[in-house]
C-alpha cells in the first residue's frame, strides 16, 4: 500500500496492482459466498406487503368480466387492481413498441398474461386471493405459426397498429421484416457446381436465470416510489415505468438489487410496474417474487425459428451464393423482436465471404409466449442453420468440414452482406485451426479394470449401457456476433468517477448505472480505475438512477461501452488531478510542465518513470469528480429494402469443437468435450473471460440436446413451465470446456477489447449437432435433439 510521505525513487516499470489484464477477484465474491449478498428477492422492509399477479389461463380470449370482490374481502388483502385501476392514460409499455398492457384490457393474447394484481400481508394470502378473482374468458382461435398468422382471414394479434414498422411489413401479424440483397443470386447460382438446401427448426429456449424476477417498491414521502430491482438496464425500466405511474422520472428512484443472472430475460419489464402500483395504492412497501412456474411466464424467451437456406459452391470449394429466409416467432408482444430480426438478417451469412446473397428475416406476432432478447440475439438461430449447411456442402464436395470453412472464412476487410466492411481482426480461419489442433479426449474413457464406469457413458447412473451401441462423433462450428446496440441506436454509457484521499490514501470511486448481473463488470470497472488512476483502492458505488444511463447489460456491450465510459471518466479525472499537481508542486520539478505524466502506484510519474510526487499529497484537501457520457462510433439503420448500411459496431468470433458419444439404441447423447477458441481482443480479466466463454458454451449445449419450452400448437399453452420439465444442463451433462483465448486488438475499442459474452453461445449448439450427425449419420434439422430424433421414433 502506498504510504504518505516523501516520493520513493522508482525509475521504471512501476505497475499498479490489480489493473487490467490481471485475474483480479470479484469485489462481491465474499458477500456471495457467505450468503450476505442481497439479491432482489432478499429485500425486506418493515410493514412490507407481498404482491401477486393473476395470469391468464388461456392464450387468446376476450375478457368478458372480472370479479375481484371475493379476493378483496379476504382478511389480509390490502389491494386488488385491474386495468380499470391504472392511474393514467399510459397503460402499455414496451422496449421499442409500446404494445404490452400493464394489465390485460378486454383481451389476453398469450398464456400467462397479467390480468390482475393483489397485495396482501403474506405471500400465501396473496396467492389465494388472486385465485379467488373470477375472470370470464371467451376464447378466440389461436395464431401459432406463419401460416396461421398470414392466412387471408387471420385474426390480427394487434389491431390498428401505428408503430413505425407497421407501414413496411407485408402483414399486420408481422412485427418487422428486414431483407438484405447484395450481388445477383440468380447469376451466381449458375457458377455453382453443388447446391444444398435445408429447412431448419430452432426450439424456444428459456434464459432460466436462477434468481427469480423480484423486487421491492417502497412508497416515498414525496409521493414517489423507490424500486429495488433486478434488471439489465435501470434507465430503460425507468423510462417505461414512470409514465404508467403518472410520476416524473425524478420521483421514481431505482436502485439495482442483486441480480441472479439475466441472459436477456431481464431486458423487458416483469413485476416492476405492478409492485410500484401496489405500493402507491396501499402506501406500504410491496415485494413481489415470482416462483419458477411464474418465471417461465414472466419473461420473454429466445425466438423459436424456422430457417430456409440455399447455398451453392464451386467444385474447388468456394461459396457462390446464399439465399435464406428466417421466420422468427415473436409471440404476442413485440419486445425486442425488431432488433432480433435485424441481427438474424445481417448475420445470416455467418463469418463467410459470399458476395451474392438474397436474405429475408421476419418476426411474427402470434399467440405464443412473447419472445425477445436472449444471449446471442438472432445470431444464434442463424448460426445453427448456416453451420449445418456448411457441413452439408463439405460432405457433398468431399472436403474436410474445417478446411471448407477456412477456405471461405471472412477476414479483416471482408464486406458484409450489408455492405459494411469488417475493419478489425476477424480470425475465423485461425480460430478453427486452434480448436482443431487441441488434443482430442481419449476414446472409451469409461473402460476401467473394474468394468465400465457408467458415469462416463450416455445415460450415466441410469446404467443404460456399458458401451454397447455407443458411437463417437466430432463436429465443428464457428459463428459471428455483433457487439453493442446496432442500426443507428444511440448506444452510450455514463460513468462518474471521483478521486480523493481517505485515511491518507488515494481512493477512486466509480459510480455507474451498469447492471451487474454476474458477468463481472464491477471487477473490470475497478481494474480500469486502478490502471488509469494508479490507485489500489477502488470503491464501486451501487448502481442506481442517481447517475446517467449505462445502457443495457446486453449485446456483449458493457465492458466495451460502460468500461469505455469509466476509462474516459478516469482520463478526465487524471487530467484534473495533474492540473492540481502542477498548481501545487509544478515549481519543484520542471517535468511537471514538460513530461507526459501518468498515475501509477499511488504516485505521479513521468512516462520515463521518474516519480514526481504522491497522489495523496496532490489530492490532499481536494475532491476531483467527473461524470461523463461516452459513445462508441455511430452506426446506421439498415435500408428497409436492400438491407444496406453500416449497422454494426464490432464483431465477435468463436469456434467450437464438440466431441460426443451417442447411445444409438436409446438415443442418449453425452457430450464428452466442448472445446472453444475465441478472439477477445484484450482480456481485461482472463479468469472472468474464460468463465463467460464456458458459461455461454454450456447454454449452447443446453439448446442442442435438452432445452425447449414446449407450446401446445392447438392451444398455444406452455406445457413445461418448471425445472422438472424444462431441463437445463447439470454438472453431469456438462463436459470439460477447454478454452483457447486469442487477443487480437480492435483498434477502435477501449484497450482493443472485444465484447465476448455471446459469441460462445452461437457456435456451441451447431458444433454439438454436427458431432451427433457425425456419430449417427442422421440429418437432424432441428434443435434441441431429443432421443426420439435419434432412434427414428419421433
Amino acid at each position: 500500500m502506498p504510504a504518505n510521505g516523501a516520493p520513493t525513487k522508482i525509475t521504471q516499470g512501476y505497475r499498479t496492482k490489480g489493473g487490467i489484464g490481471e485475474s483480479t477477484l470479484r469485489p462481491d465474491g465474499t458477500l456471495k459466498v457467505t450468503g450476505e449478498f442481497a439479491y432482489s428477492s432478499d429485500m425486506w422492509h418493515e410493514d412490507m406487503l407481498w404482491g401477486q399477479i393473476l395470469r391468464s389461463t388461456v392464450a387468446h380470449a376476450e375478457i368478458v368480466s372480472i370479479d375481484t370482490s371475493e379476493a378483496l374481502a379476504m382478511p389480509g388483502v390490502y389491494a386488488v387492481m385491474t386495468y380499470d385501476d391504472l392511474p393514467t392514460e399510459v397503460k402499455n409499455y414496451g422496449l421499442e413498441i409500446q404494445d404490452t398492457p400493464v394489465l390485460a384490457h378486454g383481451k389476453v393474447r398469450h398464456h400467462g398474461e397479467p390480468v390482475a394484481i393483489v397485495a396482501a400481508d403474506h405471500p400465501e394470502t396473496a396467492r389465494r386471493a388472486a385465485a379467488k378473482i373470477k375472470v370470464d374468458y371467451k376464447e378466440l382461435p389461436v395464431i401459432t405459426d406463419e401460416a396461421s398468422a398470414t392466412a387471408p382471414d387471420a385474426i390480427l394479434v394487434h389491431e390498428n397498429r401505428d408503430d413505425h414498422h407497421a407501414g413496411h411489413v407485408p402483414h399486420p401479424n408481422i412485427v418487422h421484416r428486414q431483407p438484405i440483397v447484395r450481388g445477383n443470386v440468380e447469376e451466381a447460382r449458375k457458377r455453382a457446381d453443388v447446391i444444398v438446401e435445408g429447412e431448419y427448426t430452432f426450439g424456444m429456449q428459456d434464459q432460466a436465470f436462477l434468481g427469480p424476477e423480484s423486487g421491492l417498491a417502497v412508497p416515498e414521502e414525496d409521493g414517489g416510489v423507490h424500486l429495488y430491482i433486478a434488471t439489465q438496464w435501470l434507465h430503460s425500466d425507468l423510462r417505461q415505468i414512470a409514465p404508467v405511474l403518472g410520476l416524473p422520472e425524478e420521483k421514481v428512484r431505482m436502485t439495482l438489487a442483486g441480480v441472479g443472472g439475466a441472459f436477456g430475460g431481464r431486458e423487458d419489464l416483469s413485476m416492476q410496474i405492478h409492485a410500484c402500483l401496489l405500493a402507491l395504492r396501499t402506501g406500504k412497501p410491496v415485494k413481489i417474487v415470482y416462483n419458477r412456474f411464474e418465471s417461465f411466464f414472466g419473461h420473454v424467451h429466445r425466438h423459436p425459428a424456422k430457417l430456409y437456406y440455399e447455398h451453392g459452391a464451386t467444385r474447388d470449394g468456394k461459396l457462390t451464393h446464399m439465399k435464406c429466409r428466417i421466420v422468427l416467432d415473436g409471440g404476442a408482444y413485440a419486445s425486442a423482436s425488431p432488433a432480433v430480426v435485424g441481427n438474424a438478417s445481417s448475420l445470416s451469412v455467418g463469418p463467410y465471404v459470399i458476395d451474392d446473397v438474397d436474405i429475408e428475416a421476419i418476426a411474427l406476432y402470434t399467440n405464443n409466449p412473447p419472445c425477445g432478447a436472449m444471449r446471442g440475439f438472432g445470431a444464434v438461430q442463424a448460426c445453427f442453420a448456416y453451420e449445418a449447411q456448411m457441413d452439408k456442402l463439405a460432405k457433398k464436395l468431399g472436403m474436410d468440414p474445417v478446411e471448407f470453412r477456412q477456405l471461405n472464412a471472412m477476414e479483416q476487410g471482408t464486406i458484409m452482406p450489408t455492405g459494411q466492411p469488417v475493419d478489425s481482426p476477424a480470425p475465423v480461419a485461425e480460430l478453427l485451426r486452434r480448436v482443431k489442433a487441441m488434443p482430442l479426449p481419449p476414446e472409451r474413457q469409461w473402460e476401467s479394470s473394474e468394468g465400465a464406469d457408467v458415469r462416463q457413458l450416455p445415460g450415466g447412473l441410469s446404467n443404460t449401457t456399458h458401451g454397447e451401441g455407443v458411437v463417437r462423433g466430432i463436429g465443428y462450428a464457428v459463428g459471428i456476433k455483433n457487439v453493442g446496440f446496432s442500426e443507428g441506436f444511440d448506444d452510450y454509457s455514463t460513468a462518474k468517477v471521483r478521486m480523493e484521499v481517505v485515511g491518507g490514501e488515494p481512493v477512486a470511486t466509480v459510480h455507474t448505472a451498469m447492471a451487474e448481473v454476474g458477468q463481472g463488470g464491477v471487477t473490470v470497472h475497478a481494474q480500469i480505475a486502478r490502471t488509469e488512476l494508479g490507485v489500489t483502492q477502488v470503491t464501486i458505488h451501487p448502481a442506481d438512477t442517481q447517475v446517467g444511463s449505462a445502457g443495457s447489460t446486453s449485446a456483449s456491450r458493457q465492458t466495451y461501452v460502460t468500461g469505455g465510459a469509466v476509462k474516459n471518466a478516469c482520463e478526465l479525472v487524471r487530467e484534473k488531478v495533474l492540473e492540481i499537481g502542477r498548481r501545487k508542486f509544478g515549481s519543484y520539478h520542471p517535468a511537471w510542465a514538460t513530461a507526459e505524466l501518468l498515475l501509477e502506484g499511488g504516485k505521479v510519474v513521468t512516462d520515463g518513470g521518474e516519480v514526481l510526487g504522491d497522489l495523496a499529497d496532490v489530492l490532499e484537501g481536494e475532491v476531483v469528480e467527473v461524470e461523463e457520457e461516452w459513445r462508441h462510433r455511430p452506426t446506421e439503420a439498415f435500408d428497409l429494402r436492400t438491407g444496406q448500411g453500416n449497422g454494426h459496431v464490432q464483431y465477435s468470433f468463436a469456434a467450437h469443437r464438440a466431441v460426443v458419444e451417442v447411445d444409438t439404441e436409446l438415443g442418449l447423447v453425452k457430450v464428452i468435450e466442448l472445446a472453444c477458441a475465441q478472439d477477445v481482443g484484450k482480456a481485461l480479466n482472463p479468469l472472468s473471460v474464460v468463465g463467460q466463454i464456458q458459461g455461454g458454451t454450456t447454454q449452447g449445449l443446453g439448446v442442442a440436446v435438452m432445452e425447449e419450452i414446449i407450446v401446445d400448437p392447438k392451444t398455444a399453452k406452455v406445457r413445461n413451465p418448471s425445472f422438472t420439465d424444462y431441463l437445463i444442463p447439470t454438472i453431469l451433462d456438462t463436459p470439460t470446456i477447454p478454452v483457447d483465448v486469442l487477443e487480437l486488438a480492435d483498434e477502435h475499442a477501449p484497450y482493443g477489447l472485444r465484447g465476448i459474452g455471446e459469441a460462445p453461445t452461437l457456435s456451441s449448439t451447431p458444433a454439438v449437432l454436427a458431432a451427433i450427425r457425425n456419430a449417427t449419420g442422421l440429418e437432424l434439422n432441428r434443435t434441441p435433439v431429443r432421443p426420439e430424433h435419434l432412434t427414428g421414433t419421433a
Binding site: L25, L210, R455
Partner: protein
C-alpha cells in the same frame, strides 16, 4: 404454530408460522437468513440446500414443522461449521453457541460493502479464488453440498464431484470453475492449508 430449532448452532424460535410454510421461507423471511436461495422452490435446483441434522436437503421441500427440535446449518453458518469441524469440535453443529460467540457471529462481514475480513471456510475461499462465482445465486447451495461431500470424501475424483453436485443447477459458469474450486478446496484441505 411455533417452531423451535437450532440454526447454525443458535437456538431459534419462529412464531406465527403457517403450516404450509417451508423451512426455506422461515429461514429467509422469519429468521433474517436469506443466504439460502429461492431459485425454483420445487426441489430441482439445489439453491436452497441446507444441512438438516447433517444431511443436505432442499429446504424448499422441508415443511417448517418438520424441523422442530432439529439442527440446521445454512451458508451463513458454513464458515463457523467448517472451523469447528477442523478444530475437532462438533461437526454436526450440535454443541450450540455461547452468547459471546453468537454476538461475534452476528458482527461478521466487517466491511459492509465487500465483506472483506470475513472468515471463510476452505470451500468458500476456493469458490472465490477459482472464479466459480458469477451471479452467485447457485453458490450458497453448491457450497453447502460441496462442503458436505468433502467432509465425507476428502479426495474426490472428478466423477465423484459431478455426482455429488448434480442436484445443484448453475446457469452462469458452465460448471468448469466450480469443478476447479472443489478440486482446489480438496487439495488445500489435504495439504492442511
Amino acid at each position: 404454530m411455533r417452531v423451535n430449532f437450532t440454526v447454525n448452532g443458535r437456538p431459534q424460535e419462529a412464531d406465527d408460522v403457517w403450516e404450509g410454510e417451508s423451512l426455506l421461507y422461515v429461514l429467509r423471511e422469519r429468521l433474517g437468513l436469506p443466504g439460502s436461495k429461492n431459485a425454483c422452490e420445487q426441489g430441482e435446483c439445489g439453491s436452497c440446500t441446507v444441512r438438516l441434522d447433517g444431511v443436505p436437503v432442499c429446504s424448499c421441500l422441508v415443511a417448517a414443522g418438520q424441523v422442530e427440535g432439529r439442527e440446521v446449518v445454512t451458508v451463513e453458518g458454513l464458515a463457523e461449521y467448517a472451523k469447528q469441524r477442523a478444530e475437532g469440535g462438533c461437526a454436526t453443529g450440535a454443541c450450540g453457541t455461547s452468547l459471546d460467540e453468537a454476538k461475534s457471529w452476528q458482527a461478521k462481514g466487517s466491511d459492509s460493502q465487500t465483506g472483506e475480513g470475513t472468515e471463510l471456510s476452505p470451500v468458500q475461499q476456493a469458490f472465490i479464488d477459482a472464479g466459480a462465482v458469477q451471479c452467485g445465486f447457485c453458490t450458497p447451495g453448491l457450497l453447502v453440498a460441496a462442503d458436505e461431500m468433502l467432509e465425507r470424501n476428502p479426495n474426490p475424483t472428478d466423477a465423484d464431484i459431478r455426482e455429488a453436485l448434480s442436484g445443484n443447477l448453475c446457469r452462469c459458469t458452465g460448471y468448469e470453475k466450480i469443478m476447479d474450486a472443489v478440486r482446489l478446496a480438496a487439495a488445500r484441505q489435504s495439504e492442511g492449508v
